[in-house]
Every structure is written in structure tokens, then in C-alpha cells.
């Protein structure tokens, strides 16, 4: 009856352990829809990794609002990736002790230390992405400020690098140099918290900055890194034969030729049929997106549902919790209750059920 994510448990867990082994100091990222798994599940899984002896000390969430979802299920430190702003209320003292704030502006650092002189922070340095972060000189001033706040605890430098366009190492070297220049008071070894570096880049970074601890923040490559362990299926809820010209559906569309209309689980409530912009940048990919939008006006649109390995068209725009597909004459007609494969973007899909097999 539902849109289901089925996880091959042993294979998925083996992958998680392999990533954690390869990346000591890893900071698992659980944010948004929890990469399809839900935040709570990822928090428990992070705890499981730590319990199994992997070097996992901090779990990262995207926003302060996500903290309650994970705080009870994971017992280590928590990092919020969205930089703290003055309107963000500080959590109760018990949670505050575990919480590492990302601070990306000098004024925010001042306000935060005023509100909580013992706050734990990572200082975000602006990267070529130009999203959040301090400029080199702001970081120097942060150093001056922090030297006056011995109670504050700086966990390290945070870098949010753009997705791999060539190598990042030149940029990272420059940004870490700015951190050295800022003379940030540190307890123990200074740390660099980074995301989106390749394994090779991380290895080089660890070598060149062996006096630093490198903390890779990893989400997609951790939770979704082994796609073969994941399967998304929908249930066939109904099957109706239609003749050419026959009307069906909410909008009284007519069938273009004879075949079957299938009602399957999964709709806009799950994120099905909502065109999420993809990361694809090629002209061809963009043209294809346009073409799909154009098709919508005149005919049927390709759906993410596949029957016997072939992607099928939407017979009409998806509904809240179900979608109608068109199956032309000649294809095998699935039975009601049968499961069919669905191709989704995990970060944009809400599943009814997540089944992790033992």
C-alpha cells in the first residue's frame, strides 16, 4: 500500500562501517529528510557506529530545529551546520554542553559568547562557494575576541567547499593558512572540518596538516554511498483496461491508444512527480528537463516508475498519495498488489516505510 525504501541491512551496515573505517574522525551528516531514512534512524545508526568502536564523536544536523529529532537517539556531540544567528534561542544547558555551533560572522561570535561564554564553536571560513563564512581578516579578529574569552571552546575551522570542480587543495591550504594567521586559541590539536573532498584530497590534507585533525563531514557518500543496498518500490493498487479515446482520471483525459491505466502508491505527498532541480549542468540535461516540461502540456510525462525495467508514463499528474500510469497495449500487465520499482531522489522523497532487512 505504500512507497517503501527497502534497505539491504547487512550490505548497508557493512558500507557504513567501511566508510567510518576509512575516515577516522568522520562527522556523519543527518539533515533534511535524513536522506530518505529519517533523522531519527540516522541518529541511531550513528550511535551504533560509535558503539561498534568507530571514531565517530559528532553528528551533524542541518538546522537547530532538527536537534530534537536526534538528541535522544545519539549521545555524542552535535554540530549544527547552519551558522548560528542571534535570533536562534540557545538550548537547555544539558544539550548546550554537547552542542557545537557553526559561527560564520564576527558579530554572531560576539553575541553568542555574550549569551553563552562557554559555547563550543567551529569557525566557518568563507570558501569560493560564497555562502556563509568569515573573510581572512574577520577570522583574525575572531582570534582576538576568543583570546578574551577563555571559557569559549573552539573546536576548529569549518570549510564548506563547492562540489568537486577540479582539486580543492590549493584553496584549502590558503584557508587553513588564514586560520593559522588568526592564532585561534585551541584546546589540543587544531581541527579542520571539511566536506566534499575526495578520498585522495583528504589523504593529502591529512599528510600536509598532520599537526591538525581533519574531520570530514559526510552525508551522501555515507548513507547513500552504496546504492545497490537500497531499493524503492511502490504497490500496484489498481489496474484498469482502457480503449483509445476513453476518458479517465480527475481531469477526464482521454487515452491516446488502448492499454491499461495503473494506479500505484506514491504521490506528491511523498515528493513523487515534483520536479526537483537536479545537479546536472550539461546543456543536454537542461534541454531534457525543458522537453519534459513541454510534454506535460500536450501529452504524457515520463514517470519515475519502472515496470519490468522500463520506465512508464504518467497518465495524469500525480495525486497526493497515488499516481496513475499508462501502460500501452502489449506490455505485461502487473497484478494488483505487485511491487514496482521507483527511481527517486532520496533527499527529496518521504517514504511511507523504511524496511531494513536483517
Amino acid at each position: 500500500m505504500s512507497l517503501t525504501l527497502t534497505v539491504d541491512g547487512p550490505r548497508w551496515r557493512a558500507h557504513l562501517e567501511a566508510v567510518a573505517d576509512a575516515q577516522p574522525g568522520i562527522v556523519p551528516v543527518a539533515k533534511g529528510n535524513g536522506y530518505g531514512f529519517t533523522l531519527g534512524r540516522l541518529a541511531r545508526r550513528t550511535q551504533w557506529l560509535a558503539d561498534r568502536g568507530h571514531d565517530v564523536r559528532t553528528l551533524a544536523v542541518g538546522t537547530y530545529d532538527e536537534l530534537p529529532e536526534v538528541a535522544q537517539r545519539w549521545h555524542g556531540d552535535l554540530l549544527v551546520l547552519t551558522p548560528w544567528r542571534p535570533w536562534v534561542p540557545l538550548p537547555d544547558p544539558a544539550l548546550a554542553k554537547r552542542l557545537v555551533h557553526t559561527v560564520s560572522r564576527l558579530a554572531d561570535l560576539r553575541d553568542l559568547l555574550h549569551a553563552d561564554p562557554t559555547a563550543r564553536v567551529v569557525l566557518e571560513r568563507m570558501t569560493s562557494m560564497l555562502r556563509h563564512g568569515m573573510a581572512a581578516r574577520e577570522l583574525w579578529e575572531a582570534g582576538d575576541l576568543l583570546r578574551k574569552h577563555p571559557g569559549a571552546r573552539v573546536e576548529g575551522l569549518a570549510l564548506h567547499l563547492p562540489l568537486g570542480q577540479g582539486t580543492h587543495l590549493g584553496e584549502v591550504t590558503r584557508l587553513v593558512n588564514d586560520y593559522v594567521a588568526a592564532e585561534i586559541p585551541a584546546r589540543g590539536r587544531p581541527e579542520v572540518w571539511v566536506s566534499h573532498l575526495t578520498d585522495d584530497e583528504l589523504a593529502t590534507l591529512r599528510r600536509q596538516y598532520a599537526d591538525f585533525t581533519v574531520r570530514p563531514r559526510i552525508g551522501t557518500a555515507l548513507w547513500l554511498g552504496d546504492r545497490g543496498a537500497l531499493r524503492v518500490t511502490a504497490t500496484v493498487l489498481d489496474v484498469h483496461p482502457v480503449e483509445r479515446g476513453e476518458a479517465f482520471g480527475y481531469r477526464g483525459r482521454t487515452a491516446p491508444k488502448s492499454g491499461h491505466v495503473l494506479v500505484v502508491s506514491g504521490g506528491t505527498a511523498h515528493g513523487i512527480g515534483l520536479e526537483a532541480p537536479t545537479g546536472e549542468q550539461s546543456i543536454r540535461a537542461r534541454a531534457a528537463t525543458l522537453a519534459r516540461g513541454g510534454l506535460d502540456a500536450v501529452g504524457f510525462v515520463r514517470s519515475p516508475y519502472a515496470i519490468d525495467g522500463k520506465q512508464r508514463l504518467f497518465a495524469e499528474p500525480p495525486h497526493m498519495q497515488a499516481s496513475m500510469l499508462f501502460l500501452p497495449h502489449g506490455a505485461r500487465v502487473p497484478e494488483v498488489g505487485e511491487e514496482v520499482d521507483v527511481r527517486v531522489r532520496y533527499t527529496a522523497t518521504g517514504f511511507d516505510r523504511v524496511v531494513v532487512t536483517d
Binding site: A136, W140, R174, N177, V180, A181, A182, E183, D211
Partner: protein, 377 residues
């Protein structure tokens, strides 16, 4: 904001004399050593007209064009601790541009990283370590990092070197600190204790063998040079002519007598090693060296080094500088022997900020890079 104008060699000399030290490549005398380049002494003056900085600029002409690379080796001599380097560099660049520079190359004399003897030795022993930069330094200096950050900010480009020596001045050098962290002078005994056993044994051996180390005069430069040419043949490098050292002797000693000292180590009347030491204020350098192939067992090289180190301690120098090392720690690299020799002194490997270029005319700068690449650096 300080202003910049040309100054006389006398003014230049007087300003340097007011500082604890400066690179000898930034002394007015050095201009005469590099007589193939046009040169100029520059001064920085604050709003009250007081001297605030100085530089020796070497203008290197582009072939067939009336345009120059303005080169300030290991300089300029300004307040590199400033958080506003733009205030120092901008008027200098404007002046150099008016002089026909298509690009400016500087070598900020600031330390960015240091490695102890033990760290360098571990690095050489570890087959996975190829470069000094691959081992965590004992120190990364915030002051050096600030200079690097500001140069990036101001559009200067680091002239990277990997492995070997770059065309310009070495970014990595080996130095023996001659003072304790509290500023007290280290004794000869303390420096000797910091050396490895081989060095100490060799120094002792030279003494036992009766090697005599003396200072030489200008007339001894010929003897130095003969041995140096012999060394060049043995070690496969191109020797400089005698005239070069005579010029250096005259020019540097005219600035200040301690700037240039010739050292000769003899055994039974045979010259077994000879070196040139340079000192500017608190900074002593081992500059050139030559050694005989015969009688290596009397350890003339160690004896002459030890004499230079003792002399630097006597003069109250803060550092004895064995100058450039390559960044390589690869045990198979031929350069590693040089590092091992220097590491035996028990000093530290020091990284400077390196050389930085500011292109003023991009097409010409590009052409210059191509030209350098063709020449093989």
C-alpha cells in the same frame, strides 16, 4: 601611509645599521655584486619624514625590450608584522611601475614553518615521506601566515617550487639558533652538544690532526677560488669566476667589514677547505664552500664550519644560517645528502614565505614565464 623614494647607498646603509639584521641580498653592497642588473636603493618614510624601511631593487631587463622584472631578493626590508602590508607595498609598486617594471618579485623574509632536527631525520628515514611539507612542523608561525594571507589578498602570486631549487632564493633553509628562547646566547658547548655524534667526532678529529683554520685576506681569494673550481668539477656545478668573489669582497666589506669573511682550513700547509661567511648584524650565513678531494679524512670542512659557528657566537649572532636546502626528504634524491650534512649540525629546517610575483603587465608577464620555462628556470 609611508611614502617611497629612491635613497642613496649611504642612507640605505644607515637605515640597515639601525636594525638588528637584514638579508645580505638587501644591502647596498649586493648591488655591486649583481652589477649585470640595474639597481636602485629605495626608502620608505613615514609622515614625519622618518626612515621606516628600505629595499634593494634589481632590475632585470627583458631581452630586446625596455621593460624590467623588479626583483627584491629576500626583501624589501619593511615591517612585515604589519596588518596593513598594502600601505607598504602599494607605493613601492607604483614607483617600480614608473621605472618600467612589468612585474615585481619579492621575497618576504618571514618564517612560516619550522622543523626540528629530529623531525627532519624521521622524515628522511620514512620512505612514505617525500617532502618536508609532509611532516607536521614543530611550528607554524601566525606572523608568517598573516603575510601569506595578505599577499594573496593583494593579488601577489606565490612562485611555487616542488623538490628542487627554484630559480630565485630558496624557500627552505637550515639554521642553527644561537640564542635560547629567552634571548640568552648559547655557549659553544651547548651548540656542540646539539650536533650529532659524527659532527662532534669530525670536529675533534680535525683538531687532533692539526687542521688550522684562519681568516684570509683579499689576496687569499685566489687560493679559495682554485679549490672552489676543483670542488665544482667534482660536484658538477658551474663555478663563478674569481672576479665575482673579489667584487663581493670589496663591495660587502665596504658596507661593513664583518659582512664578508674568508676562512681557510689548512693541514700541513695544504688548503683542505675554504669558505665564505657573511654576517649582517645578528644574522650569520655560510655562503660559499670548497673542499679538497685529498685528505678528506682530516675533516677540514667540519673544522672550518665549526670555526665559523664559533665566530658567529662570539659576535653575538642570533642565528647561523647554512642557507638553502631543497624540500625533498626522499632518501634517493641526490639533494638529500646536503640536507643530511646540514641536519648533523642540530639546527632546524626553516621555511620562509617564498618568492611572490605581482604582474603589472599581464601579456609581458606571461611571455616572461614562457621565456623562463624555455630556459629551464
Amino acid at each position: 601611509m609611508p611614502s617611497v623614494r629612491p635613497i642613496s647607498p649611504t642612507e640605505h646603509r644607515e637605515f640597515l645599521a639601525s636594525l638588528p639584521s637584514a638579508s645580505f641580498l638587501q644591502t647596498p653592497g649586493w648591488a655591486q655584486v649583481k652589477s649585470e642588473w640595474r639597481s636602485e636603493s629605495l626608502g620608505w618614510f613615514d609622515d614625519d619624514g622618518a626612515r621606516a624601511g628600505a629595499a634593494l631593487v634589481l632590475y632585470r631587463k627583458l631581452p630586446r625590450l625596455n621593460r624590467y622584472l623588479a626583483y627584491l631578493p629576500e626583501g624589501p626590508v619593511i615591517d612585515w608584522g604589519s596588518d596593513d602590508l598594502a600601505a607598504w607595498l602599494t607605493p613601492m609598486v607604483a614607483h617600480l611601475k614608473r621605472q618600467g617594471a612589468f612585474a615585481v618579485r619579492i621575497g618576504p623574509p618571514v618564517v612560516t614553518r619550522r622543523w626540528s632536527t629530529a623531525q627532519v631525520k624521521e622524515g628522511i628515514a620514512d620512505p612514505d615521506v617525500r617532502l618536508l611539507g609532509q611532516i607536521p612542523p614543530a611550528e607554524r608561525t601566525p606572523a608568517g601566515a598573516r603575510v601569506v594571507a595578505q599577499l594573496h589578498e593583494l593579488g601577489w602570486r606565490h612562485q611555487g617550487v616542488e623538490g628542487g631549487f627554484a630559480a630565485g632564493q630558496p624557500q627552505f633553509v637550515f639554521q642553527i639558533p644561537l640564542r635560547h628562547p629567552d634571548g640568552a646566547q648559547r655557549t659553544e658547548d651547548e651548540v656542540l652538544k646539539g650536533m650529532n655524534q659524527l659532527w662532534r667526532r669530525n670536529i675533534k678529529k680535525a683538531a687532533k690532526e692539526g687542521v688550522e683554520v684562519v681568516r684570509g685576506g683579499r689576496e687569499d681569494l685566489k687560493a679559495f677560488h682554485d679549490l672552489y673550481v676543483h670542488t665544482a668539477e667534482r660536484d658538477h656545478f658551474t663555478p663563478r669566476p674569481l672576479r665575482y668573489f673579489e667584487t663581493m669582497y670589496d663591495a660587502l666589506r665596504a658596507d661593513a667589514p664583518e659582512r664578508f669573511t674568508l676562512w681557510l682550513a689548512r693541514h700541513d700547509g695544504d688548503l683542505v677547505a675554504s669558505t665564505i661567511a657573511i654576517r649582517v648584524g645578528e644574522h650569520a650565513w655560510y655562503s660559499y664552500g670548497a673542499s679538497s678531494t685529498e685528505k678528506r679524512e682530516v675533516r677540514g670542512s667540519n673544522a672550518v664550519q665549526w670555526a665559523m659557528i664559533r665566530d658567529a657566537i662570539d659576535a653575538g649572532a642570533a642565528v647561523y644560517d647554512l642557507r638553502g636546502i631543497t624540500e625533498t626528504l626522499d632518501a634517493d634524491d641526490p639533494h638529500v645528502g646536503l640536507i643530511q650534512f646540514k641536519v648533523g649540525t642540530g639546527g632546524e629546517a626553516v621555511e620562509h614565505a617564498g618568492e611572490w610575483d605581482l604582474p603589472l603587465n599581464r601579456p609581458l608577464y606571461k611571455a616572461f614565464e614562457v621565456y623562463l620555462a624555455r630556459r629551464g628556470g
